[in-house]
Structure formats: C-alpha cells, structure tokens
Amino acid sequence: MKNNQIISIENVIKRFPMGKGEFTALDGVDLTFGKGEFAGFVGPSGSGKTTLLNVIGSLDTPTQGKATVLGQSVGDLSEKNAARLRNEHLGFIFQTYNLLPVYTVFENVEFPLLLLKMPAADRGKAVLDALEWVGLSDKEKSKPAQLSGGECQRVAIARAMVKKPKIVLADEPTANLDAKNSHRILQTMETLNAELQTTFLFATHDDKVIRYLHRKITLEDGRVAGDEV
C-alpha cells in the first residue's frame, strides 16, 4: 500500500432493507485514495454514489467489508468516535447548501470551529481566511437568505474548509448552480486542493464537474465499472 493512502475501501457491501427483502446499493467496492486526490464518483442515478460517500464520511456503516478512513475503520467506530472523526478531519458539501438560515455567513463558517473548541481569536482569523478563499469577505454579516445560490455554495465550501480538513466530501455540489458559478467554485476547490493538499471526493453526474476531476470512478449498480485518471 502506498505511503500517503488515507482512504481504503475493501470489498464494501451496503444493503438496505426494502420491503421484505434487501436492496444492495454497494456490491463489493474496492478502492483506495491517497492524500491530495481530486477524485469523483460518476454514474447513473441510483448507482450508489451518495451511499459510498456516506460510508466514507462515517455517516453510514458498511454491511460487509471494511472502509478505513485515516486509519480508522468506519464500521467499528462508536457514534461518538465517528462524530469526532467528522469533526476533526472531514468536511461536507451538500447539493442543497444546508446553511443554517438564522445565522450570518460568519457564524455559519464559524460553527465547525466551535465544535472543535477553538479559542475565539483563532476562530475569527480562520473564518476570515476561509471567506477570503471563496471570495466572500464582504458578505460575512449577511444571512443566507440574502445570498445567491452560488454564494451560498461558496459559504458551504468555506464552512467545509475552514478547519482545513484532510478530506472534503462533496455530493452534487453544482446541481443547483449555473455554469459560471459551477466553474467558480470548482476553481476555488482546485486551488484549495493544490494549496492545502486536501483530498476532494465528489459524487456527481455534472459534466462541468467531471472535466475538473483528476480521477474519475464510474459506479454502476453499486459496482466500480471504471477508474480513469
């Protein structure tokens, strides 16, 4: 195994109960990712992209097989330790931004740092840095409702990046954005990937995203059908 490997998926199977039987969403996935990758899962709807991201993000556990993230086996983590893993090392970006509507941009980005129990002075600086990365320094006092979709997604990126996580998981981050905004945020993420060596994993069927990917993994019916660099 490579030295800088941070994620390994070994024969992961994920089944969901469905009616009387079961539905197999992931059917024996084997993959590894190294530090600083900019990779994405593509494939038709229902092929298991989100499910795989959830397993890697320790939001879900594999039914069989082993998913190891930063040396920790996701299936064996307690709820608390899974939370800690997410807290310390993972950042999430969602299709539907999921900003907290009652809080300002600044407070939204600050939130993960509160969970990390970072001192106030450090928090302020980190938040302003993160907002600068995504070009929203002038909007720190705005509420999400006052922002455009693209701006909201940039806030979400800042929120995922503010703690400089090792891995960022982005599920359809551009689905609600127009071409111009999609390129903007992808460029932002590419830059952050280069500067901070953050590993980015996408789930997408958006061509605009796919063009940016350094590695494209195709899923079909819960199986890896292609893995191109």
Partner: protein, 428 residues
C-alpha cells in the same frame, strides 16, 4: 468554549421565532394558568378557613368536654361556667391573643302585633357576642359594622342585629320588638324581649338565613347563664391562623385540665382539630398537585408535538451539525439546553402575568353572592385570590418540566434514526 456553543444556541433561538416565540407563549400560558389556579385555590381555602375561624371555630376554641361532643345541638345546659375567671387566666397567660366568649342558642323569634299577639314567628339561630365595649374585639372579628345593611349597631341593652333577609321575611322593622322563646341553661322555658337595632348581611348563606346577634350579657339574662358561655374563642392578634402554634397552645391548655372524669372540664381545640378543617386543607393541597400535574402532562404533549414539528423543520440543521462532527448526544443536550431556556423564559413571563392577575383578584375580588344562594358552606361570597410565596415558583414547575420533557420526547427521534437517514430526509 462551552459558553461559545451555548451562546451560539441562544443566538439561534432568539432569531428563530418559531423555535422560541411559540413555545415560550405555550409555556407562559401554562405557567399563567398554574399561578392563577394556585392563588385562587389558595384564596378560596384561606377565605374558608378565615370565615370558619371568625364565625365557628376560632383559632382555638374552649368548650366543656360534653358540650364539645354535642356541639351541633348547642347544648347550653352543658356550657362553661366561671367564664370570667377563666378569661382572666387566659388573658394573663396569652396576652398576645384575643379571648372572647360566645353563646350559641336556638329558639323561636316571635313578632307581636300592637295587641301583643303573635304577628309572625320563625325559628332563629342566635349568637351572643361580647358587644359591651364600644370597640369590642368580637364586633370586629365578626365584621358586624361592615355587615350592617339597615339601622345601626346595638348601643343599648336588649338591642339586637338580625339577618336582613330574615327581617324581611318576618316583615320586621327597625326599632320593633322581637321576643325570643327559648330555654334556659337549666331547661326552663323563657321569653325575652329584644329590640331590633339593625339588619346584617354577611355574604355567607348559612348565616344570612335566620340569625340574630345579641350582646352576650342580654343572652345570659335571657337564658339564665350568668358567668357562663357555650364557647370561648381565641384569636391571634393578626388574625392569621398558624396551625402548629395554635395546636401547641391547645395542648398546653388541655394538660392543665386533664381530669378525665370531669366532663364539665374545659377543653381547647385548635381550628385544625375541629371538624374537617385539616382534612380540607390537605385535600386542597392534593388537588393543587393533581391539577398542576395534569397541566405538566398536557403541556408536555403539546410542546412535544411542537418539538416534533420543529424537529422536522430542523432536520437540515440537525443533519449539518451531525455531519460537521457534533455527536448525537451533544446535539440532544443542546436541544435540552434550549428547552430549559425556553421553559425558564416562558415560565417567567407566565408567572409575571399570573401574579399580576392574582394580585388584582386578591385586592378586588369577585362578588359571587347571587350565585351562591344555596351554599351551606361557611365562606364569604366575595371570592378572592391569595398570592403566596408558592405562587412565585409554582409556574416554573410545569413550565420548565413540560418544555424539557416535550423536547426529550421529540429528540428521541434523532437517536432512533440512522445518521444517513437524517440526511436522506433533509435532502428531499
């Protein structure tokens, strides 16, 4: 750092009206009702106790042992003798209390026409009260001056007060003569002429039907009861009943008169020891507890529902917070903290409003006299609330409990769901 998180939660609460305003209003409504309920029940009981004390039981009351056993029949043949002496002793021993003798008696009140023949007649319930002094304490204890409807207070020998409705029924006018037909302490029949000085209404149905109030010296003359009295009432100076203290005084008194063979020996009983007063007080406390529990339960259910709806609305937030690494326990705790804040804020608001209303009801009262014609319980027809120290915190019990319990139930959903399931729901 804990504070930063708490501050963050509170900021969110304040900004999100649906999370704060509605639950706070809910809680304050409940707290308000609890406070009002408590103070009005308290007021009712205090009023009942106070009325009973003034007219019937005293704070303590002395009778002979046998009189006590047959008290319902007003057996004046069993009355206390040597009352003057006993009063002297009592006043010396308890100078901080009011001691006053009374005689209760029954009989017929006969109203003669100008020829001295019976014009009308009716059974009467009489109370002989010490009205000798210009400002005798008992006149005040019975609120006689306030109760006066027509005429004036008795100032001369043989003058009496009589229930206003009784006077109307007998067509009795101020200044007319009324003859009491009764029996003396020794069982002989007696007639005695009184003169009506005024009419009274106490606002207490049992007393307002057919009562006459005479000076105790006249009653002693009429019933041949020199230096006797059916009862000696004792009251604290401030007219506030203290069960422990009064029972203590009664016990001490009874130790001095402990001859079990002498059934004419005086016995003293505190208000709590008479009739069902103590049971009544307990009953009321139990009722308050039950009603408050029902409130807690009902409000919990409502807040639980509100919490559930809120929870669904907040799946987005919950999902994001879990994704960012807050543990389910941490999330649950922060929701509980929020609910405590809401509980306290709502309770404070509701308690303030409840106290305002209760104080108003304590000062002004509501007159229910027209609705209480048939009541046989001795209580005044002006209903008042009473604010006690308990009124200040009783609203917080249901307020905070309901809010927290409601949130706890609502929050269980977070635990039961798979984290990824929460996401699935928030993405739809």
């Amino acid at each position: 750092m804990k504070n930063a998180m708490l501050l963050f939660s509170i900021k969110g609460l304040l900004r999100d009206r649906s999370r704060s305003l509605f639950p706070i209003l809910m809680v304050s409504a409940g707290a308000f009702l609890c406070v009002c309920l408590h103070s009005s029940m308290k007021g009712t009981v205090t009023d009942m106790v106070d009325s009973a004390a003034r007219f019937d039981t005293g704070h303590v009351k002395i009778m002979t042992r046998v009189y006590n056993e047959l008290a319902d029949q007003m057996p004046n043949d069993l009355a206390l003798m040597g009352v003057g002496n006993l009063l002297e002793k009592l006043k010396r021993k308890h100078p901080d209390m009011i001691w006053t003798p009374r005689i209760k008696f029954g009989g017929l009140l006969d109203i003669p026409d100008e020829n001295g023949l019976t014009r009308t007649q009716g059974p009467v319930f009489g109370i002989g009260v010490d009205m000798s002094a210009r400002h005798s304490p008992d006149t005040k204890i019975l609120n006689l001056e306030k109760a006066l409807v027509r005429g004036r207070m008795p100032g001369h020998k043989t003058e009496i007060l009589i229930s206003d409705s009784f006077a109307r029924k007998l067509d009795l006018k101020i200044g007319e003569t009324a003859t009491l037909l009764g029996s003396t302490m020794y069982g002989a029949t007696t007639t005695y002429n009184f003169k009506v000085a005024g009419t009274v209404r106490f606002g207490m149905t049992p007393l307002d039907r057919s009562t006459m109030i005479a000076d105790i010296d006249d009653v002693r003359m009429a019933l041949d009861m020199a230096d006797s009295a059916g009862e000696i009432m004792g009251y604290t100076n401030d007219m506030l009943y203290d069960d422990k203290r009064m029972t203590g005084i009664a016990d001490a008194f009874n130790r001095d008169f402990a001859d079990p063979d002498d059934e004419f020996e005086p016995v003293m009983q505190s208000l709590g020891e008479q009739g069902m007063m103590r049971d009544l007080l307990r009953l009321v406390n139990v009722m308050v507890a039950i009603v408050v529990s029902i409130f807690v339960f009902a409000m919990s259910v409502v807040l639980w529902n509100a919490g559930l709806m809120n929870g669904i609305r907040r799946y987005g937030e919950i999902g994001v917070r879990l994704a960012m690494g807050e543990s389910k326990g941490g999330l649950y705790r922060s929701m509980i903290v929020e609910s405590v804040c809401i509980g306290i804020a709502g309770s404070a608001l509701g308690t303030a409003a409840g106290l305002a209303v209760s104080y108003w009801l304590q000062q002004n009262g509501i007159d229910f006299s027209s609705m209480m014609q048939k009541s046989a319980i001795l209580r005044s027809s002006v209903w008042r609330a009473q604010v006690t120290s308990v009124s200040y915190y009783i609203g917080f019990l249901p307020g905070v409990f309901a809010s927290v319990i409601g949130t706890m139930f609502a929050g269980i959903g977070i635990y039961r769901r798979q984290t990824s399931q929460l996401f699935r729901e928030l993405e739809v």
